[in-house]
Symmetry: C2
Subunit: 379 residues, 2 copies
């Protein structure tokens, strides 16, 4: 294998596939990056066996030469060293050449590295995925759908299925749902699909979605998504992102969501978020980050917290509208802030069904996003 | 105590004094910030008993009112909470009022905090310093002198005196020297002093200088420096920064510095630094970060490293000039990079006295800075 490549393209591709490489793997060769040079371009692969990322660099782009292939071939190089080296090379172009025993020369200007490589044949094969049931989601929408749900997955392994986000496709709509059993985040959107009768119901590890969202760029193009029994594949122009799926049945969350409400508030999202943030300053220690909300007719909303050792805080917030019963309720400030950050829109509605029942946070006039939080019993 | 203050001034002052507050103190009241309001303004104090910082906010500045004092007095508030609270308050002004039992109300817009305070009389007094032997150093020069030496202090407590920087004043010159016994950094500069026969020889904890340099702003004004037997005081317009001094005699470092040389190199600082940085990529593990430099007549300089398990690297650097004996020498890449970053100037000279003797790095035509490194015996 021998080729000359534009450094910035190489750096970007290495950066992307590094997202899948873990130094704590039980399969030693997975600490490496696989490099394959064909007549058409160079493909890099990184994997921790849960996530695999393939990044493709074509020999030219917009009639500008990016790679000059001198000899096709392949090698696996230690990811840790290779990624540091390419970032720091002195010139705009890099020459990579595999010599005897997979010893690989990396040359740029007056800088010459020789890295011990491994046989690429030893590298595990990526899953073969048949593209029978494919759908598309615009990149920015996909990133939003991930951002608005993934924070709510469980971080505990007590119920492993809850560490993933449930993706359900039904009637041309993709529903993303995450819950750690104390709160729930849901986002839905229409998809572009070849076949209108496409259905799917899978659970994607939260970590996979977080990593995916880091490497999706700000392009207008759509991401192609292929779901199989054990794997999900995300395809962009130059990247293939594979993730394994979680096994097991995701709980039916629809029955958690109250269909009626007793108290309805409308508030400014930002003002409410900042007030909760301040009220939580004294609630973090000892109080488990719990704050109290009181909504009494004729008074502004009050968010408060009281830690006898430290002090107390009261935040008043003007509401836009309030309907229904008066209310006193306690909840986790962190869950509330997470939810408020995930909701789009400057105004939100919060619907309560009493101090002991889960409540809903939604943007005004928009049912594509829903955040649910279970209150905390404090008295 | 009761006053109304512009939030940004309060935030800045709290940020400055927080540099001295440690949560791991054996004196509980030192986890707090002392606030004193007089007719002239508000003074905040933070201390971990090694470092004490006092920040003063005058009632007006450039005819703009900053503080409105309603009642003089004092209190000590938990630094951790107070600093978080002031940063997040909603309005541009903050009202602070001490009520019964040092309970302190902090009010801004519709946000009201009540923090448990402590009696400021219980707070340790800052050292009384007589300003008999004072000198001045311009702020930017002082920051440079700290930056160019403090990195070389020892991080080990084996010889506690080496964890400080030696400051010596002689004949109107301030000499700053730091060494961890493997390398040495020296910077000197003329000072402005009232008395020309001022002398001093003290050792300032490296940590104190690092914290000081963080709170010095980019003003053109000079910092006033007062040295006593046990304390050093740095005074700027609004800040007093006290540090204790290290006890003991600093070793005589002048005899370490070779007065003659056998090989003299002149190289471009940046190109040399980048080459060392790359060469060290493969030297970090197992090789203790040691790289080898070879200077052979008629050839470019070569910096290399070889780790059998990982690979090897050779970096060639064009020198500006080379005089004297040919040389092969090994040294710590980290020490070399630290030294190169501390030296000002685009060209440096390196003077060697053989492969086993300390060598010197200096900017061309400038003897105010000197970096010394002990080589590593590798063969």
């Amino acid at each position: 294998m021998q080729f000359i490549i534009q450094k910035d393209y190489l750096v970007r591709a290495v950066h992307d596939v590094m997202k899948a490489v873990s130094s704590r793997t039980t399969i030693p060769i997975l600490t490496g990056i696989k490099i394959v040079a064909t007549e058409d371009g160079v493909t890099l692969t990184g994997s921790d066996s849960d996530i695999s990322i393939e990044s493709y660099i074509p020999i030219e782009k917009k009639e500008k030469e990016i790679v000059e292939i001198q000899k096709t071939g392949s090698v696996v190089l230690q990811a840790k060293y290779f990624s540091e080296i390419v970032k720091k090379l002195p010139q705009d172009t890099v020459e990579i050449e595999v010599e005897n025993h997979f010893m690989t020369k990396i040359k740029s200007g007056k800088s010459v590295f020789n890295l011990n490589g491994l046989d690429a044949e030893e590298y595990p094969h990526l899953p073969q995925i048949e593209e029978q049931s494919m759908f598309k989601v615009p990149t920015d929408l996909l990133r939003n759908m991930i951002r608005q749900t993934v924070f709510a997955v469980s971080t505990s392994e007590t119920r492993p299925i809850l560490t993933g986000v449930n993706w359900k496709v039904e009637d041309g709509i993709l529903f993303c749902t995450a819950t750690d059993s104390h709160r729930l985040a849901m986002r839905k959107a229409a998809i572009e699909s070849g076949s209108s009768d496409l259905t799917a119901n899978v659970v994607i590890p939260g970590k996979s979605l977080t990593e995916l969202s880091k490497i999706l760029d700000d392009s207008d193009e759509s991401v192609e998504i292929v779901i199989t029994d054990y794997q999900i594949l995300f395809k962009t122009k130059h990247i293939l992102f594979f993730s394994r799926l979680l096994e097991g049945n995701y709980p039916d969350t629809s029955r958690l969501i109250p269909s009626e409400s007793k108290t309805d508030l409308q508030v400014n999202t930002k003002a409410f978020l900042q007030a909760i943030d301040r009220a939580s300053l004294l609630a973090r220690e000892g109080r488990n980050n719990v704050v109290k909300l009181t909504a009494f007719e004729g008074n502004p909303l009050a968010v408060s917290s009281n830690s006898p050792e430290i002090g107390k805080v009261v935040e008043e917030i003007q509401y836009e509208s309030m309907q229904g019963e008066e209310l006193k309720i306690s909840f986790s400030a962190k869950y509330m802030m997470d939810a408020l950050k995930a909701v789009e829109g400057s105004e939100i509605s919060i619907s309560f069904t009493g101090a002991m029942r889960p409540f809903l946070i939604r943007p005004i006039n928009d049912d594509s996003t829903l955040q649910l939080i279970l209150p905390v019993r404090t008295y």
